[in-house]
Symmetry: C2
Subunit: 354 residues, 2 copies
């Protein structure tokens, strides 16, 4: 079987130089319409496909984007966020002939190495920054590596700056962000629970070093205060169902256990319901439970789980689009997605009367 057809084959068949073929294919000026058409015809006929590696070498572009996930494999499996996010990214990339290079790392040290390797190998043209952390070290790292990136959420914690007098004074972050305001849904949830008469409420959040954990914590506590409720009991976890279950156990062991528990993701909420049932508590009659992300399973457990719907798929799509634009034009605006909304289901109900 013959070799793959190269640009030289096309040039020879069309009777022109290979430089001109390159021009025609990347439709750049300097090619007469007739010639261009002829070249394109020949290329199609020979089923010519430019070699990615040759192109990468001369353009210093890899036509791929990178995603490094720094979570324990175990958690990754339980949390539906990333698969959906990836699917959204893919939807955009595959249409553009680009690929997604994925890396899953356990520890932070290894994480740095992967970012460095991706950059120095020029394996990707840009990266997605998820699970943003406070003063995220990856931002200066990527900046020093000259690697374009897009962040999921605003690395400057604009919500905090908003309260301060000098909003304009905040540090401009170097990368465009795609923001999905999760606090909106959390606030709705706080009002929902307060409205149901709950006063002793617990908030089981993800790792504090991740911005979304503290951001939601602040939003939830703030909204409860506004509604005249006491501050929630906050428990930090690593997002695993195991820690969600453990946290629930500890909360229910308190002298005055909460009447409602809000979890940072759905798997933890489902595990929480499991613990409650194990102890013979009725949900929501004796304990209300809510989750986050609104995964498929939330609808199908018993009772179905009240959750805050963030849309990882759309988030992925938009992040991919933003990153591609940044790479192509050198600049890209921040994008604000529709805020997360509360989805009320059967796991939340009126607070039990004492």
């Amino acid at each position: 079987m013959g070799r793959k057809t190269t640009i030289t084959d096309v040039a020879r068949a069309a009777g022109v130089s290979k430089g001109l073929v390159s021009f025609a294919l990347n439709d750049r000026p300097g090619v007469s319409p007739d010639t261009r058409d002829r070249i394109l015809d020949v290329a199609r006929e020979l089923d010519y496909r430019p070699s990615l590696s040759a192109r990468s070498l001369s353009t210093r572009t890899s036509y791929a984007l990178g995603l490094v996930i720094a979570r324990d494999p175990e958690i990754l499996g339980a949390d539906p966020f990333f698969p959906s996010f990836i699917a959204g990214v893919e939807r955009v990339l595959s249409a553009e002939g680009r690929a997604l290079v994925l890396s899953v790392v356990g520890d932070d040290a290894h994480e740095q190495t992967v970012y460095r390797t991706f950059a120095s190998d020029a394996r990707v043209d840009g990266m997605f920054l998820t699970d943003l952390r406070h003063d995220d070290p990856r931002i200066p790292l990527l900046q020093s590596l000259g690697m374009p990136a897009v962040t999921l959420g605003d690395p400057d914690a604009r919500h905090a700056a908003r309260a301060s007098a000098d909003d304009a004074g905040r540090t401009a972050h170097p990368y465009p962000s795609v923001v999905l305001d999760d606090t909106a849904g959390v606030v709705e949830l706080a009002h929902h629970l307060a409205g149901l008469g709950h006063r002793r409420i617990a908030h089981v959040i993800g790792p504090r070093r991740m911005m979304h954990a503290t951001r939601r914590d602040a939003a939830f506590a703030g909204a409860l205060a506004e509604a005249g409720c006491p501050a929630p009991i906050v428990v930090e976890t690593d997002f695993t169902a195991a820690e969600g279950a453990a946290a629930t156990g500890r909360l229910l062991d308190l002298a005055e256990p909460p009447t409602a528990i809000v979890f940072g993701n759905d798997p933890m909420a489902i595990a929480g319901i499991g613990i409650a049932h194990e102890r013979g508590l009725q949900v929501p009659r004796e304990l209300s439970v809510a989750g986050f992300d609104d995964s498929e399973l939330a609808r199908y457990v018993f009772p179905s789980v009240t959750s805050v719907r963030s849309d990882p798929l759309v988030w992925g799509e938009q992040a991919a689009r933003t990153l591609l634009q940044l790479i192509a034009t050198g600049a890209s605006d921040d994008v604000e997605l529709p805020p997360a909304r509360l989805v009320t289901r059967a796991s939340t109900g009126p607070a039990p009367t004492p």
Copy 2:
């Protein structure tokens, strides 16, 4: 800031030709020990890293492996198999300086395109074939594209051939396979349920076109027959919690509903428990439920779910190793992993007495 150091820089600094540097770095014969050491020293000092794209171009190797997942994003999120599998693959690849290129596609037509594109762009050096189908069209496709691959499970359905007289006569499959015998766990499960006195048993399986679905179906039915039980009621689903729930509903509506339901994955099992509870049925007192894969959540719902533990992480590791070996040496043996084992938990119990 200066350009990246290239092989020419190293050659100049070491006072040799760049060809020799290449030899030294890929430790090939024809370089004197002294010179080799000197070159390596210089390379280290200059922090030289070969350009991936340049190397790709001249060696026709991309140093990346590909995984195409043909599942609906929604299902992907619910099923923890892939994230764990990917984490396992990554563990091996990152140590080898290779990357994983991922693609998530919804429909089959698009699937073909992605395989073709990966091949014609030479974006990957080999591919993982998961969710093997009967007479899987991807095998001849990849073969015709000259793309190395490794299959998860045996595409020849050896378990069927085993029964036939002429075992040697079966078609030799072109790709090495990494087999994790899931039937062992399914058989254990059948005996477990039969031993508990269950007679009316349902099996909610995944899509029939996937080999593992029919394989497990056959194994389960066979083991039940052996144990003197009637044939199970089989329901085909798409692996979503939604269809798992729907199937459960239909089964419980039967005039003689099953006393035990076995599901093809854990999310469906959890959804099944949800439906049972919704109808006021006690699990396992009135209905026993079992899942598959033994995901984290299975341990933490109420009641905890009896499941068959397949080990996606190990599967991913081994598949990566096998594929790398195939690519490097041109041949690789099939690998047999420890079989899946039953994990008994609280969701299965004695059959209710009529």
